[in-house]
């Protein structure tokens, strides 16, 4: 373990500790249970791996199981983000959840097909492959949320914004590093470690700042004009759209 990675690892543990303490002091633990479960699990696993690395230098057997556990909890974080962002928008929440479920389903189906039809293919020897695919699924889930919130101009609070940004940076860096690692081979391992650990430290720093205190999601202000005026506008909208259509019918022969 290089001195840089060791420093980043220790720094990460410290920040995770701060985030967990602030979750209690800032009263945000109950609002984002999956997120804090994710951070706590990473903290516990990283701490255990660090101690084991000191006692016995061979920690490779434990690295991937830890990655899988945190990966699945990470999916819970994306569902939690979707639940908060689309709290009052049932349809959009459903779209984001279904996109992720379908992507995950497709990945697991592909794993099952490969395991069944390719005799030399084994999930335990292709861990990086599977992790990359699952990270891609997380990336697609995050992009769906970003696309929908951007398209409809939905406001996002400081806490969730930080969660999305930090998680997005880590997932993006993981997709890049895992892909390059698979194609470049063992030569890429030192760079892989640096990218993964640095990206995670950046994500943790963003989370620490964004989740320092609890901030509720912004709510849309109800219209400040009278119901009658609003309905007048609505009626006019329909009328004008209809008349535009008439214009088009008369303008261009179809």
């Amino acid at each position: 373990m290089g001195i840089y990675i060791q420093t980043v690892w220790l720094g990460g543990l410290l920040i995770e500790c701060v985030i967990l303490v602030r979750s209690v002091l800032g009263r945000s633990l109950a609002n984002y249970p999956f997120f804090y479960l994710y951070v706590a699990s990473v903290f516990a696993a990283s701490m255990a791996l660090y101690v084991i690395a000191i006692v016995s230098p061979s920690t490779h057997g434990l690295y991937w199981p830890k990655q899988y556990v945190t990966l699945f909890l990470g999916c819970g974080v994306i569902f939690e983000v979707s639940r908060h962002v689309f709290a009052r928008r049932v349809t959009l929440d459903r779209v984001a959840r279904w996109t992720m479920l379908v992507t995950f389903g497709a990945i697991f189906l592909s794993v099952a097909v490969q395991a069944f039809f390719l005799p030399h293919w084994n999930v335990t020897t292709n861990t990086a492959d599977l992790e990359r695919d699952l990270r891609i699924a997380q990336a697609i889930g995050l992009m769906t949320i970003l696309l929908l919130t951007g398209y409809y101009g939905i406001g996002i609070g400081k806490n969730i914004k930080g969660m999305i940004l930090g998680f997005g940076i880590y997932v993006g860096a993981s997709v890049f590093s895992l892909t390059l690692r698979l194609f470049v081979g063992p030569r890429f391992n030192p760079v892989f470690g640096v990218i993964q650990n640095t990206a995670y430290l950046v994500a943790l720093s963003i989370w620490m700042v964004a989740l320092w205190s609890y901030e509720a999601e912004p709510t849309e202000k109800p219209p400040s004009i009278s119901e009658g005026e609003y309905q007048l506008l609505a009626g006019r909208t329909q009328e004008i759209l209809g008349s535009i259509n008439d214009h088009l019918d008369r303008t261009v022969p179809r």
């Binding site: 990336a139 398209y151 997005g168 006019r236």
Partner: protein, 194 residues
């Protein structure tokens, strides 16, 4: 190799999304009095600015070109083509601007409603996207080859705009004014008929 490209594309796409997410400005409070006044102005400009029938016919009228080509000297012909090109480009810009306004208005109001129709929203988004892309292509075609380069595209723009208006009309059903009961609205029901 395909796997490599797809994975890297997903990574790049996520980073691009995050970049725009960070740069995103605070959403405006839709439904405020000022917003609704602006929306009304937008709708008015849509009515009179999107596709006035005589204007479109005039801009892309082939008989004008034929008349100028057969009766006017070369310098007048080139002046005519240049001016018609500017007008056509201006028209496409106006249509594009109006479609963007309609899109902004629709999205701003649709986001306030919990139960959106996914099918309608998807159709609208695709129509808006195709219409905006068509306007862009039309702009390029007119810019490169003049106002009479793509009459088919003009028709397609108009037809797609019509489709967008149709779907918008359906999706704006939630804003529909309650129809007044004709019996309650007639003078006779109040006993004031002559």
């Amino acid at each position: 190799m395909t796997q490599l490209i797809i994975s890297l594309l997903v990574g790049v796409a996520l980073l691009v999304f995050l970049y725009f997410f960070v740069r995103r400005s605070k959403p405006s409070a839709e439904g405020s009095a000022q917003q609704l006044r602006e929306a009304r102005q937008t709708l008015d400009s849509l009515q009179f600015g999107l596709l006035p029938n005589d204007l479109v016919h005039r801009i892309f009228a082939r008989e004008d070109l034929e008349y100028v080509l057969s009766n006017a000297p070369a310098d007048v012909q080139s002046l005519f083509l240049s001016e018609r090109k500017d007008i056509a480009l201006g028209w496409v810009r106006r249509v594009r601007g109006a479609i963007l306004e309609l899109m902004r208005f629709h999205r701003g109001h649709a986001r306030l409603y919990a139960q959106l129709s996914l099918a309608t929203e998807t159709r609208l988004a695709l129509n808006f996207a195709s219409l905006l892309a068509l306007c862009r292509f039309l702009q390029i075609a007119v810019y490169l080859r003049g106002p009479y380069a793509a009459p088919g595209m003009v028709r397609t723009v108009a037809a797609t705009a019509g489709r967008v208006c149709n779907i918008s009309e359906q999706s704006l059903q939630f804003l529909k004014v309650k129809q007044l009961d004709p019996l309650n609205n007639t003078p006779s029901s109040h006993g004031a008929s002559v």
